[in-house]
Symmetry: C2
Subunit: 128 residues, 2 copies
């Protein structure tokens, strides 16, 4: 699934994305997330013990909303699923994201040993 060309900028820019997941009790959750496009997947940094990680182990569904900060009525919705999880024990991907988001001196987080990279497969991309 490709990103519509006229909304590619929303993926390229370091925006705070709103990630929707479903809790084990089938209630909705939305969290602000750093992200980057890696190949044709969206990648997030996370730890392997937080609630969202457990949510995704039970229900892999992910929905991502990217709103243009310069025009709140222009946005991109990505729907998909958690496709894979990679360990990031040095926090290298966390550092990559930190730098993407403007923290030039980003250091690995204290919880680096528990860091993972969550990859979201994009099944549907809709720009408005």
């Amino acid at each position: 699934m490709t990103i519509p060309a006229d909304f590619q900028d929303l993926v390229d820019r370091p925006l705070i994305a709103a990630l929707g997941t479903v809790r084990p009790d089938n209630s909705a959750q939305v969290n602000p997330m750093w992200f980057d496009l890696v190949g044709d997947e969206i990648a997030f940094t996370h730890t392997n013990f937080r609630a969202k990680f457990r949510n995704l182990q039970k229900n892999p569904s992910m929905s991502l909303l990217l709103v243009d900060p310069d025009d709140g009525y222009r946005y991109l919705e990505l729907r998909g699923e958690l496709s894979r999880i990679e360990d990031d024990p040095t926090g290298a991907f966390y550092v990559h994201l930190g730098k993407r988001y403007g923290f030039d001196d980003q250091q690995p987080p204290p919880d680096a040993k528990d860091r993972v990279i969550l990859y979201m497969r994009i099944d549907k991309a809709t720009g408005h």
Copy 2:
């Protein structure tokens, strides 16, 4: 449930909120939404035939994310449920929201006869 006082401004400001809901197939959905605080509930304008309305009829869970546009690392998460639905057949609440969001000449929408007001009961409010 009250809003933490030091995050009240995020509810008072006309921000585009990210509303998370759960689809009938238990997948996640996130949509950008106008909102207002009415009493101690969050109110949205919607139509009675869109997908999100059907989602909420099956699973009333709602999660709302409000991110400070001036500081993407400051945000408020509201969790709760659809508490009630009111008809808005003249689109009056839609007009109210439009004006709140800066459209001084907001007119009722063409689909006014199908407009409803969705009320979200806030069960948990967490500021970061």
